[in-house]
């Protein structure tokens, strides 16, 4: 059961990141074979010694994920996300159409494509044919021909105009539909930041993938925490820029269960191309079940697991490693209890310092690092911060 949770953590990671970010997860993803003894990360779960410097050992070691649980509270795990189902499916030009809007867009696209190919082939044939037939050769001269021809010119003005008007009207209709969500749509909040997506569900669960029910309209209310981003799901053909200090909205109704790719589609800096997630369309009943599981799992996780989950789900792994590699931020490995030089003097890394660094990251910036960490004030519950503290404590 532990593997399920760990596998979920692995699959919920953003797409392939340079070596380092994935280490903790991949370490844990090794098929342990022995359920219940999955401590492959090495520096966790050593029930004895080392561990918490300066902390008295209590009966239940907080670092041991396999500490005995109360009998009536079995551990809750979340089902894994699974592989993408939109690869290899779809037509030559498009990913699989998984919404009504997608079907409309594809029809219009194919219509324009057909007209375009027709026009282009026609013009190419004319150009090539005329270039050959009227090529200069001995004795050949340009023949008299009029330099304008009213009926011809009127025709080739009117017909393209009519075609353009039709294309415009059809495109407009689809656009209005895209922007008109049904009243009863299920609302999920999306927060974009450099460089990850967070999906916040009404029950408080925060996920890094978008879970939606099949066959029901879903409305996303989106905002950015920093620069412009854009939410795009190719299979749904929906896209909308995500702007700081403003809400933008988008809606869709997924037709087929599966796992679909989601991208950021507005350049936002270094890791713009890594800022992607998955849209998990659950079969009927699946979404409700997932939400219940999620809520339960959140409440139920031991702090160290909660911390480990948040480390991945809330994007700490973008800048902090757990294996000693220095990234944009310092590695968490072994820092608990150490004394560091910071912008506000010397500091010992204890619970208070960690909490302050999460809520007010620029207060005491470790020497050698830039004050670029965003604040998580208002975004993490106290229990979640506790979980992160415990997780860091347990990273030897």
């Amino acid at each position: 059961m532990l593997q399920y949770l760990l596998t979920f953590v692995v699959l919920a990671q953003p797409a392939p990141a340079p070596a380092g970010a994935d280490k903790p997860a991949t370490e844990q993803a090794q098929p342990a074979g022995d359920k219940g003894k999955a401590e492959t990360a090495g520096d966790k779960g050593k029930a004895e010694t080392a561990g918490d410097k300066g902390k008295a050992e209590t009966a239940g070691n907080p670092c041991d994920k396999n500490a005995p649980r109360p009998a009536n509270k079995p551990k809750k795990t979340l089902p894994p996300v699974g592989a993408r189902t939109d690869l290899g499916a779809g037509s030559y030009w498009m990913p699989p159409a998984n919404s009504d809007l997608a079907t409309h867009v594809d029809s219009l696209f194919i219509a324009i494509l057909a007209i375009s190919i027709f026009c282009f082939v026609g013009i190419t044939i004319a150009v090539v044919y005329f270039a050959w037939k009227y090529r200069h050769r001995a004795g050949h001269k340009a023949q008299e021909s009029s330099s304008h021809n009213d009926p011809l010119e009127i025709t080739w003005t009117i017909i393209p105009s009519i075609i353009c008007v039709i294309i415009f009207l059809v495109g407009w209709k689809g656009f209005v539909d895209l922007n008109t969500p049904p009243r009863h749509a299920y609302e999920i909040t999306v927060v974009a930041e450099k460089w990850k997506w967070s999906y916040k569900y009404p029950n408080g669960w925060v996920d890094e993938n978008l879970h939606v029910p099949v066959g029901e309209p879903v409305r996303l209310v989106m905002r950015s925490k920093d620069v412009l981003h854009s939410f795009w799901v190719p299979s749904f053909r929906v896209k909308q820029d995500v702007i700081p200090n403003r809400y933008t909205k988008i809606w869709f109704e997924a037709k087929t269960p599966g796992v679909y790719r989601q991208y950021c589609a507005e350049y936002c800096g270094d890791r713009h191309s890594f800022m992607k997630s998955l849209v998990v369309v659950h079969p009927p009943g699946g979404f409700k079940h997932y939400m219940e599981e999620a809520e339960q799992a959140l409440l139920d996780m031991p702090p160290v697991e909660l911390g480990e989950y948040l480390y991945a789900a809330r994007g700490c792994n973008q800048c902090h490693s757990t294996d000693g590699t220095t990234k944009t931020g310092p590695s968490w490995k072994g820092i608990f209890g150490e004394t560091h030089q910071t912008s506000a003097g010397s500091v010992q890394v204890d619970e208070n310092y960690i909490r302050e660094s999460i809520l007010d990251p620029t207060a005491k910036v470790r020497a050698g690092f830039n004050p670029v960490m965003p604040t998580f004030k208002g975004q993490l519950k106290d229990e979640q911060i506790d979980g992160l503290i415990t997780y860091i404590k347990c990273l030897k």
């Binding site: 494509l113 013009i123 005329f130 009227y134 021909s145 304008h148 415009f168 922007n179 909308q240």
Partner: protein
């Protein structure tokens, strides 16, 4: 019978006796004389050197980008450097090459001669424009050297106001280049209004000039908006005034409106001279008048005017209102129609013509086909619902490369080959030129056709890394890019080689009917010999033109009569 010694223009080249006046290239030699010249031809040549150098630099960045994208993950550079590469590629190509390209380099050279005038209206302003171009280029180079900007050439806020790279020099460079463009446009408008020869009314002007004129109107009226936008960006970045900063009450989307209000007309600054020059080329090498002259003339002005009204089609998903999006989409389709009709007119010109497929004509025919693809793919993007899916994907990248490179740049190359004999008095190797033209066409399509497909399939743009299913498209594209790059280098090499070993050029190697083909190749300082002012013929009238073997070029029948009188 005319002999070599008595061929009408045998004295031009100095082969049979001294030319009456030295050419503009040789009169007053020396770097110092060139750098303070007031001669529009020299200024045009200096622009040409700067622009082709910038093109090669921008091309190197393009090849680095394409090499990096050959496989997912990092091949040559990391993600931060990649972002700098595509930013510099875009900024250099747009601001240093394509926008100034045809007007500043070739328009400067040809405009007064085509009018039969000694120079442009304001020669000192012309030189000043060139100095501004150099300053802008230097500032962009400064950005490149210090810590190249990584914002994309579009400088969207808030990223451009918060990133740590050297945005200020790049933006300042673009600002200065804007004024270079404005003053060039101003100069050309006044020149066309005030220096037309007697007998050349508006509708006897070559279409090349209609293109230059409409472009100049855009340069003067649209570019200042870019100027103020970039100035606001600089002040925002340096002084944190808040106009685009949401935390201070500003609006980052406002930047997009201001930026695209210029940058959409800017793409017409790129294409209008291209279309115009192609009209001239096609009629010359078809040896018959262009079909639909008045329409093409009116459509140049019409496109310039309409181009101001459609900027919002870059922002359908940016957060602007639905009503605005609808209006912009509708107006965008109106812009499509005149362009389509121009294509039909060019094709109709080929009908019952007498076509010689020389290098410039091959570029012109490429232009027609590539512009058709570019324009048609614009229709996809003008349709609102389809654009939602295609926006910010490689479909857009392919579309604009078809119109900016496949059309504007191809036109530039065609025009360069067309006027090369006039500018430098030498013929380039025709066979090499023709082969390169064909290979550029093939390479270009290989590079960009796959990008349409992968864009629609889900490949977003400005991506350093990508999902593996797109790999094959990127690889084909990269191969095409290298083919194109190598061919372009060879074609430039062909032109430069002709400066040393090319056959001396006659006055009219192609059989053109416009005034510049009556000037010596290369022209003297004031474009025509003092005793030999050009004669204005009806526009695009080829009836009296014939090819003369001794001349090695085309002559008007009047000349033949003159040569034969004892």
């Amino acid at each position: 019978m005319a002999t070599a010694a008595t061929s009408p223009h045998s004295h031009d080249t100095g082969v049979h006796g001294d030319p009456p006046e030295p050419s503009y290239l040789t009169v007053k030699r020396g770097f110092r004389n060139w750098i303070v010249t007031l001669d529009h031809k020299r200024i045009g040549v200096m622009y040409l050197i700067g622009i082709t150098t910038s093109f090669l630099l921008g091309g190197v960045f393009a090849l680095l980008v394409r090499t990096e994208l050959f496989l997912p993950g990092s091949q040559l550079v990391n993600e931060a450097q990649y972002n700098q590469l595509f930013t510099l590629h875009g900024a250099i190509m747009v601001f240093l090459v394509i926008i100034p390209g045809l007007p500043a380099a070739l328009g400067n050279f040809s405009l007064p001669i085509v009018l039969g005038a000694p120079d442009v209206a304001f020669p000192r302003l012309n030189l000043f424009s060139f100095y501004l171009w150099c300053t802008g280029a230097a500032l962009m180079l400064l950005s490149l050297i210090v810590n190249a900007a990584d914002t994309g050439w579009t400088f969207y806020t808030p990223y451009s106001t918060t990133t740590g790279t050297a945005v200020v020099p790049a933006v300042a460079g673009a600002f200065v280049l804007g004024f270079s463009s404005i003053f060039t446009g101003l100069n050309f408008i006044v020149t066309i209004h005030k220096f037309k020869p007697k007998g050349m009314g508006w509708f006897q002007m070559p279409l090349n000039l209609w293109g230059i004129y409409s472009t100049a109107l855009l340069q003067v009226l649209a570019t200042p908006v870019l100027g103020i936008t970039l100035l606001l960006l600089l002040v925002e970045r340096i002084g944190r005034i808040g106009i685009f900063d949401p935390a201070l009450g500003g609006d980052p989307v406002l930047f997009q409106h201001f930026f695209w209000f210029y940058s959409h007309p800017a793409v017409y600054i790129m294409i209008l001279p291209a279309m115009a020059v192609m009209s001239d080329l096609i009629t010359t090498f078809s040896h018959k008048p262009i079909f639909g002259y008045r329409f093409i003339a009116y459509s140049s002005i019409g496109l310039a005017a309409l181009s101001f009204l459609v900027w919002g089609h870059h922002m359908f998903v940016s957060g602007q209102s639905r009503l605005a999006s609808m209006v912009f989409s509708a107006l965008t389709f109106t812009v499509a129609i005149p362009s389509a009709i121009k294509v039909f007119n060019w094709v109709a010109t080929l009908y019952k013509a007498d076509i010689t497929l020389k290098t410039p004509m091959l570029y012109a025919l490429s232009f027609i086909l590539l512009f058709t693809i570019g324009g048609l793919t614009g229709v996809f993007l003008g349709a609102l619902s389809v654009d939602v899916h295609l926006h910010d994907t490689y479909f857009v990248v392919a579309h604009f490369h078809y119109v900016m490179m496949g059309s504007a740049l191809i036109a530039f190359l065609g025009a360069l080959h067309y006027w090369w004999p006039k500018m430098f008095g030498r013929m380039f190797n025709e066979r090499v030129g023709q082969v390169c033209a064909v290979l550029v066409f093939i390479g270009f399509n290989t590079t960009f056709l796959p990008q349409f497909v992968m864009g629609a399939r889900g490949m977003a743009r400005r991506y350093f890394d990508y999902d593996p299913e797109f790999t094959i498209f990127h690889q084909v594209s990269t191969v095409g890019a290298f083919l194109m790059g190598i061919t372009l280098v060879v074609s430039f090499g062909n032109l430069i080689y002709s400066l040393f070993r090319g056959k001396r050029a006659p006055r009219n190697p192609w059989g053109g009917s416009t005034l510049e083909w009556q000037a010596p190749s290369p022209p003297p300082l004031y474009n025509f010999y003092a005793h030999e002012q050009p004669t204005l013929y009806p526009i695009y009238d080829y009836t009296d033109l014939y090819y003369d073997e001794q001349e090695g070029g085309w002559l008007r029948r009047k000349h033949k009569a003159e040569a034969e009188t004892p």
